[in-house]
Symmetry: C2
Subunit: 250 residues, 2 copies
């Protein structure tokens, strides 16, 4: 069933509701939904309502709530994917696939070895675009949470933002080269529901030794993600898949 997110409050006691503005265009003009068609509506509180369209007019439409979908599609831990910006459309790819794989939020920043830094103008446009990609991917993968996409200007500020995280790991190429094998497994064993993880990834150029020092000083652990060298846009997907396998499957 088609799933939409709305930013508008829904009065669940009302028997006949107006289609929210952020749903109407997509549902009626793009998908040409008609009276009797059903859809899922995710409220700002992340409840999933099963709805049916009542009437459609040119400028608006009405619907009723016929049930609730209580099946949880969210991984019970909050994974923040932190990436040094890479060139090309790698950020788009990370957000799109990372959202399918359950990321809670994304933070991008200009790291030391970033080849294509995001300057302030470009940055705002990029972040807006990435937020849209996250929402679309969340709808398609039937999530109830839209991952936020944030920008942090430097590593010092980033360490402040991540200070309260329950677990902090960094995917460092040297850890993979040294055959580090236990940090990820231990993380899956230790983590408790609702806890948060910050997972830090370098850009395609890697992480500078001075950056690694700051990360280590702030409680990050260097985690190996298997013995093969993963590209910047692949490593976050490995991490999210491994966490899902370790936490959600049994």
């Amino acid at each position: 069933m088609q799933r939409f997110f709305t930013k508008h409050q829904i009065d669940e006691n009302n028997k006949k509701l107006l289609l929210p503005k952020d749903v109407f265009h997509h549902a009626i003009h793009v998908l040409r939904m008609k009276s009797g068609d059903q859809f899922e509506l995710v409220t700002p509180e992340e409840n999933v309502l099963i709805c049916e369209i009542l009437e459609v007019n040119k400028k608006d439409g009405t619907f009723k709530i016929i049930g609730k979908n209580t099946k949880n599609s969210e991984i019970p831990v909050k994974v923040t994917i932190v990436c040094g910006v890479s060139k090309g459309d790698k950020a788009e790819e990370i957000v799109k696939k990372g959202t399918q794989l359950g990321a809670y939020e994304f933070i991008f920043f200009n790291s030391k070895y970033s080849i294509a830094k995001w300057e302030s103008k470009k940055k705002d446009k990029k972040i807006t675009r990435l937020k849209t990609i996250a929402q679309n991917a969340a709808e398609q993968s039937h999530r109830s949470h839209i991952p936020d996409v944030k920008w942090v200007s430097n590593l010092t500020e980033l360490m402040d933002v991540l200070r309260e995280m329950d677990h902090k790991i960094v995917a460092y190429e040297e850890a993979a080269k040294n055959g580090e094998k236990s940090v990820m497994v231990q993380l899956v064993k230790d983590i408790q529901p609702k806890q948060s993880i910050a997972a830090f990834f370098g850009p395609e150029g890697g992480i500078a030794p001075s950056e690694i020092k700051i990360l280590m000083d702030n409680g990050f652990k260097s985690a190996g993600l298997g013995p093969r060298i993963l590209r910047a846009e692949t490593a976050p997907l490995y991490l999210l898949s491994a966490l899902s396998f370790g936490i959600e499957l049994e």
Copy 2:
């Protein structure tokens, strides 16, 4: 260190060897390597030799072997990723990232719900291009095995090709919807080193009920890959990451 694959036999007892033809152009013309530069050379037997360039001329060059890299970067099981063809460049993406994540080989075929089927002319060109992508990704991720990329024309033939596989699973959307959680975990528990797995994925349109029946009749088990709906090009990456996490980390 730069890694190259060669199809030519290397006489490891020879103190001064000619750069293989399939390495010379890339090493000398593209990467401008010079006398004294080192590289890794993967032989047809998948041994990784550490080499040093001796002399470079316009049309050829020589090198000597200075050691062996015995660090294993291959996952100890053979995972065959089988995909119904999807439109756009999804096959390229699956081969590129799947190679980084350790796939042993890839098989593509026109499935019932494939929107953009590969006709015979297009197919040969596609497979050749995918083989090149696999080799490049294998070099970059420091693997010693280049995954083969194959084409099989229909599901009946495919079942013959996969008959001897030790384990067979299919990522079926309905399994995810029904909350199937144990097949992947059981697979990781049961699988023995050197065993083979066929992992079957539909195209973006999904797998037809008649195709699922054939798969079930041929011993495939339907495996859930977490509660979120994954796109055709993301599901194989989840599977490979989960297997690496479950088998290679500890």
